[in-house]
């Protein structure tokens, strides 16, 4: 089988990381880069990615032009978070013959944020004989795929409590704003109301993935976002938060089935949680037959994890049946080898 011709849409921290991770692989050829920033028009993709060698591929800002000229097969899509923001981008790529792996959080299960867009993407993918997957560390893995994988050892599951505790200290100003880091409690409340403080994007998606795969009928999902008030000074790379101010956002979601909250997810995102005795980690506790208590300490880093998930699903998506798919429908995920040519040539997963 020929090399997979890959186009990157989005060349920021995530899209650029995906590009660097794929650049060295045997069996993958980077053939296009769609940039958001106008100054990248015409720049060599290798240079934009910070590779040692140029790729002799010019970046462009007009997506359709880049996708057509690249004549690629796989789009690695890392632009924005919501289905509403990315639907047209994905439809365009499908129309031009691309499979799509998107790290847009809502694409992990697009029907959670609106069935119409999900149906449109699915229909278009079927028409074009191509496959669309949304993935990432979360949604896409920790609070959905990994939970499901653990339930494989259960005869029956009565409830699930999962918690991802991370440290935002390394992140930049955009993340600080979206989690309200550094605000006063009053500013935090106003930020929630205005929509500037969003917390985690992905709970409804993770919940629908888990509930759907376990055959649970979701009655309702309750979400809450509470400020995490620092009781002593905490430091991030771009901000210092004094005691009394907000160190982050404790975002939780509860999913009710038959009147019971059977699926509880917590994702407190804050700077320097260890400064006040909170360990970071990914924690999954399943009550059932048997109970399972899992901990990953420290948490799997979000940026690296998202880049890895996107890259590692490449062969599975290429081989999947056409349509809009989800992580639980695909073969057990795993790290892709540096040389994927044998996998491309083989039948099945």
């Amino acid at each position: 089988m020929q090399d997979v011709r890959v186009v990157l849409w989005g060349l920021g921290a995530m899209g650029g990381g995906i590009g660097r991770a794929l650049a060295g692989r045997q069996g993958v050829q980077l053939v296009g880069g769609i940039a958001g920033r106008p100054e990248r028009e015409g720049q060599d993709l290798g240079q934009v990615l910070g590779l040692e060698q140029p790729l002799d591929v010019a970046c462009g800002t007009d997506a359709e032009t880049v996708l057509r000229q690249a004549a690629g097969r796989m789009l690695m899509h890392a632009t924005r978070s919501t289905v509403a923001e990315v639907e047209q981008e994905i439809l365009l790529a499908l129309d031009l013959g691309y499979d799509v792996i998107s790290i847009a959080e809502e694409m992990a299960y697009p029907a959670a944020s609106g069935g119409a867009a999900a149906a449109r993407i699915h229909r278009r993918a079927l028409e074009r004989g191509r496959t669309v997957l949304g993935t990432g560390i979360n949604p896409g893995f920790i609070l959905d795929s990994l939970i499901l994988a653990l339930t494989a050892a259960c005869l029956e599951v009565s409830s699930i409590h999962a918690r991802r505790v991370n440290n935002l200290a390394p992140f930049g100003p955009t993340v600080m704003r979206s989690q309200g880091v550094g605000t006063t409690p009053e500013e935090f409340e106003r930020g929630l109301e205005s929509g500037e403080i969003v917390g985690h994007v992905g709970f409804p998606e993770s919940i629908r993935l888990v509930a759907g795969a376990l055959g649970w009928q979701v009655e309702r999902i309750e979400q809450s976002r509470e400020p995490i008030i620092a009781t002593r000074q905490r430091r991030g790379q771009h901000i210092t938060v004094p005691a009394g101010r907000v160190a982050g956002c404790n975002h939780t979601a509860r999913c009710y089935v038959e009147g019971r909250p059977v699926l509880i997810m917590e994702h407190p995102q804050q700077i320097e949680p260890e400064a006040e005795g909170t360990d970071t980690g990914d924690f999954i506790s399943i009550k059932g037959t048997p109970d399972i208590d899992m901990a990953i300490r420290p948490e799997i880093p979000g940026g690296l994890g998202t880049i890895a998930l996107a890259c590692n699903m490449l062969v599975a998506v290429l081989k999947a049946p056409p349509g809009l798919t989800t992580m639980p429908q695909l073969p057990l995920p795993r790290a892709l080898p540096a040389d994927i040519r044998q996998l491309l040539a083989a039948d099945g997963g």
Copy 2:
């Protein structure tokens, strides 16, 4: 879709547990039971399983007769551990139109113990249009599928160290013998030589599953079995071991790739490890980008876990392409709902 007609082959602790777990499900019908013990000939399967109601299905000891009369679709196979012991049973079931889920440890990756038998089973399954899967808690899950799932968050994996520490205290005399519990160190050595003490069955299978899915070329696998000497008295349900005697078998395996031991698995099996300060649990440590350190405490119980894995793969195996398959080739495993009729009716995983 009609109910899945299931036959149980093996009605001991594992096969019986699988039967009880499936008996209550919507979409599954138990239509046959193949017993090893002659006194079960003609007994009602519901009675043998300890169900409240009879199933109006007579157990039999002649496999071919039971399989033919049952006219089933799925065989849940729980007789013995090695491919050599179970090959003819599986071929017979395939010839009579059954898909097969086997908990024979070596069936998790039959090529590890001999390529010829694996090739014969694969060929027969293709001829008959049926699917064969080996699964269980281990091999099948902890030291292979779960490891692979965790690597999905890695851009690169340089080595893996996995450890399953369990407590044999609840198990009976057969397990005590196979792990050398209660022997003197000298008897332990003789037991290893005679083959009566076997340790864990499944390291080569787990290693081949992981290495194969990660694209690693296995150079060699080294295994060692060491006695775990009690330094104080330890108690199991069927045995008490004084200080100085063997409390269990520390079985380890090291897989070399390009001269390096990249995949190390340990499975110390002993009674009452906590009596000497050893916590039980399932531990997976991945060195790579990023590192991942996972712990499940206590360990997932082996018996329940094996029963669950076998039952939970039922729909995936029914829908899989014909042939001999493995866990990493199938969709992400997860707990089956109590009512599987919707899954049976749906397309895909």
